[in-house]
């Protein structure tokens, strides 16, 4: 009988040969990712840091710190005038060596470093300070910086001396150092290149080499960096990996040494292997998860319902289950190190289902409340589901309305939410007045809750216009803002959540700023 075609022997031989060829070919790409050795205590120069992040760059949004590509690029290429330590708001020198505030709080004189040059080779001067602050609030950028109200209150900058900048203000600015920490110094001669993504010229430890949209960002060591001997790394290569599972897989397989955008569960899982992975909790660079309320929606105009929601939410359960214990419950936006933090006030709406039920009973029949959340991150859905269960337990029925990120932002900015919503806010890690004049959910003049109050507006403005944002007078004003927030309750805080990063133990010296910017000036590889 004639054979049917391909013999079993030839089939197996073919498959075997194919498999062997595949395995032989595969070894080198994985080997090229690097060794599995841990970094030692002595810094070692050289090497390229490989990073995975979930977002691509949006050049015109550079001032917003709105995604991981932007924060990585700013941290590598640019520098600010001053910089806060992660655990306080006491400014430290950066491109400004020292400063003096006028007694009336209407001006600030900054002495600038004279040994700093841009990546283009041009010397950094006071004119760059003026240009950068103006650009930060410039409407020609699609997304202006969140601190634009503070930037606009800087009425002029005296640049007579190239190494001294004198900032004049429309009124005292208690949060001026938040602005100086946030605004990064850009090169006026190449600013148009930023908008098209062709070039990014700063004074930072790394120079921008290339951006391939949807694929990668490449940076090289700045040989003219003003800090001697830094950076240690020869370069940084960032891969854009939109899928969070793929990011975790790249870390596990050693393809990258550092990743952002890893889910809380993957972070928990990876950090169990302490020999291979380090977890970095970005203390001092937190975000707050909250439930927002549209105070003009049916029933939500009654503050008793908002109070019932605040009492009904089991914050500790959300922190534990959704964020795997990373963070802590809160009733007010302020993190524990903030000058506005008040432990007693923070207990005002501690989890109390009995009180919530009592308030619901007083109100009577309630409609079903739409509850919108963003599907971009799984933590929003998980939080919304727990809140939904908590509210159902006290007699408040909500209907979940998941929407994608673009729709969510549209509804947020347009104040279009029909009931309640959940998302993160930030800026409470800075001077407290920054939150109430810059973070949109808290903005006294226009917010997603449709909340208006003369008392809240005047408390916010008074806090902002304090000459010294850390003074006793300022702290007293922050207390008034806190009282207004607790009384009006247009936003129900759930908890303070620090970002977390995961890196391989090959990498040491990883750091960050209060705005989650990547700082690898002192980082080195094994």
């Amino acid at each position: 009988m004639e054979n049917n075609g391909i013999s079993r022997r030839s089939l197996l031989a073919g498959l075997g040969a194919g498999g062997a060829l595949l395995l032989a070919a595969c070894s080198s790409a994985v080997d090229e990712a690097g060794s599995g050795a841990s970094a030692g205590p002595t810094p070692k120069a050289g090497g390229t840091l490989k990073v995975a992040i979930p977002d691509d760059l949006i050049p015109k949004n550079l001032f917003t710190n709105s995604n991981t590509a932007i924060t990585a690029l700013i941290g590598l290429v640019y520098e600010s005038l001053t910089r806060y330590p992660n655990d306080s708001i006491e400014p430290k020198p950066r491109l400004a060596k020292s400063w003096t505030a006028s007694a009336d709080g209407l001006s600030l004189t900054l002495q600038l470093r004279d040994d700093v040059v841009f990546h283009s080779g041009r010397a950094f001067t006071s004119k760059d300070v003026e240009f950068s602050i103006k650009a930060y609030a410039d409407a020609s950028w699609h997304a202006q910086g969140q601190l634009q109200s503070t930037a606009k209150a800087v009425t002029s900058v005296d640049t007579t001396d190239p190494h001294q900048a004198v900032l004049h203000f429309a009124h005292p600015l208690g949060n001026i150092f938040d602005l100086l920490d946030t605004v990064f110094i850009i090169d006026s001669e190449t600013v148009e290149d930023i908008k098209t993504g062709k070039g990014f010229v700063g004074t930072g430890p790394f120079t921008f080499k290339s951006w391939t949209p949807n694929s990668s960002l490449v940076f090289e060591k700045n040989p003219k960096y003003w800090q001697p001997g830094r950076p240690y790394l020869d370069g940084v290569r960032i891969g854009i990996v939109p899928d969070t599972n793929a990011i975790a897989a790249q870390l596990k397989s050693g393809q990258v040494d550092f990743a952002e955008g890893v889910s809380p569960r993957d972070i928990e899982e990876l950090s169990k292997d302490a020999k291979k992975f380090n977890k970095t909790t970005l203390a001092g660079a937190e975000q707050q998860i909250y439930v927002g309320t549209n105070v003009t929606a049916p029933a939500l105009g009654d503050v008793r319902l908002r109070q019932a929601i605040a009492y009904a939410i089991d914050r500790d359960r959300i922190i534990s289950e959704v964020f795997r214990g990373n963070g802590y419950a809160t009733n007010l936006p302020w993190p524990k190190y903030s000058v506005a933090y008040d432990a007693e006030k923070n207990k005002r709406y501690a989890y109390n289902q009995a009180k919530a039920k009592e308030l619901v009973a007083q109100i009577g029949t309630l409609p079903t409340i739409p509850y919108t959340y963003n599907t971009a991150l799984p933590v929003y859905a998980a939080t919304a589901q727990i809140v939904q269960a908590n509210l159902a337990a006290v007699g408040i029925k909500v209907e979940l309305e998941p929407v994608d990120a673009a729709t969510f932002v549209k509804q947020l900015i347009g104040a279009e939410f029909k009931g309640i919503w959940t998302t993160f806010h930030s800026w409470a890690q800075y001077t407290p007045s920054t939150l109430v004049v810059s973070a949109y959910p808290f903005n006294a003049l226009h917010n997603a809750s449709h909340f208006t109050s003369d008392d809240y507006t005047s408390a916010s403005q008074a806090a902002w216009k304090q000459p010294d944002g850390r003074s006793d007078a300022a702290i007293a004003e922050y207390a008034k803002v806190s009282d207004e927030l607790l009384e009006a309750l247009f936003l129900v805080e759930i908890g303070v959540i620090p970002f977390q990063w995961v890196s391989s133990t090959r990498l040491s010296g990883l750091s960050y700023t209060k705005r989650w910017e990547l700082d690898v000036t002192n980082a080195y590889l094994a």
């Binding site: 994985v30 993504g197 949209p213 949807n214 939109p242 393809q255 673009a406």
Partner: protein
């Protein structure tokens, strides 16, 4: 043949026109707004309005369509809202990567089908047939986002022999051996369901052919079974299989959207996904229209190949 080709062109142009209208309308039906996506969560309504004006989104929808399609006809695809650069260069980069991925996947699928199809059609080994059936069913049934994750887990984490995602750091053509390794997982993930469909189709077609009277006659005349299979039955099975390959090539383009996201492969699939997320209308419109164009061209080519392989098609068409 030229006349046959010319007859097919008007319907292709009509499909492209209708597709352009549908694409333009559908993207605008999705909730969300490019201006608010760009402005960020702390923007004022005035800033959003300024962006809408800047992008021309404050004009009427028909006016926006006419402006867009007019530019497309002159090969001016405009600029991306979010990236800021020319869409032409964005698409060129992404398209090149997608072509590499989908062609690799298609070749892999054809190769698998060319091996598995004849074996499946002719084997009398019950266990081998069952094994092929099981693997084939799983390949079709598993969504690519599941098979992709499983492949990554198996071949990059448990047995770290392949890179888990991305493209070669030094570019696609610097070292082909490295490029091949980066290609294996996404191409395999994309190829699996297509190879399963092709294998089954080829096997069934071959079985039908092998039952034809001419096969019986040839067997009686002593023509070797292998020659019968590969020279006669396979040749007769090819025209219809080529049609199915053409259809599957279209599905590969669709499947690439997910696979590129899973494996961080910077092709047009990933570009479309990101552009939809940001409501980057010009990029979405151009990419979807390009996908339709490619599909139409593939169908046209498939018909031409079919007509070349089977003269009855072009003669029937002419009559």
């Amino acid at each position: 043949m030229l006349r046959y080709l010319v007859r097919r062109v008007p319907s292709a142009v009509l499909v492209l026109f209708l597709a352009s209208v549908l694409i333009f309308a559908i993207i605008r039906l999705i909730p969300g707004d490019p201006a608010t996506s760009l402005a960020g969560s702390d923007a004022s309504p005035e800033a959003v309005a300024a962006i809408r004006h800047d992008l021309g989104l404050d004009q009427s929808v028909p006016s926006q369509y006419l402006s867009w399609i007019g530019n497309v006809l002159t090969l001016d695809f405009g600029q991306s809202y979010s990236v800021g650069g020319e869409i032409t260069s964005l698409v060129a980069d992404g398209f090149g990567n997608t072509v590499i991925l989908t062609l690799s996947a298609l070749l892999l699928a054809i190769l698998i089908a060319a091996v598995v199809g004849p074996i499946w059609a002719t084997t009398r080994n019950h266990w081998l047939e069952s094994a092929i059936t099981v693997v084939n069913t799983i390949s079709v049934a598993l969504p690519t986002f599941v098979s992709g994750v499983l492949l990554v887990l198996l071949l990059t984490v448990i047995f770290p022999v392949l890179p888990s995602a991305g493209i070669p750091p030094d570019g696609m053509f610097a070292r082909l051996d490295i490029t091949a390794q980066y290609l294996v997982l996404p191409a395999l993930c994309l190829a699996l369901p297509v190879s399963a469909v092709l294998s089954r189709f080829l096997a069934e077609t071959l079985r039908t052919e092998l039952r034809q009277p001419y096969v019986l006659t040839a067997t009686a005349l002593g023509v070797p079974r292998r020659r019968l299979l590969l020279r006669y039955a396979m040749r007769n099975a090819l025209p219809t299989t080529v049609t199915v390959i053409g259809l599957q090539a279209g599905s590969l383009l669709g499947g690439a959207v997910l696979v590129e996201a899973i494996f961080a492969w910077p092709g047009i699939g990933q570009l479309i996904e990101q552009a939809i997320g940001r409501r980057d209308y010009p990029v979405v419109q151009v990419l979807l229209l390009l996908s339709v164009f490619i599909f139409v061209v593939i169908q046209l080519l498939t018909d031409v190949v079919h007509a070349l392989l089977d003269p009855r098609v072009r003669i029937g068409g002419a009559q």
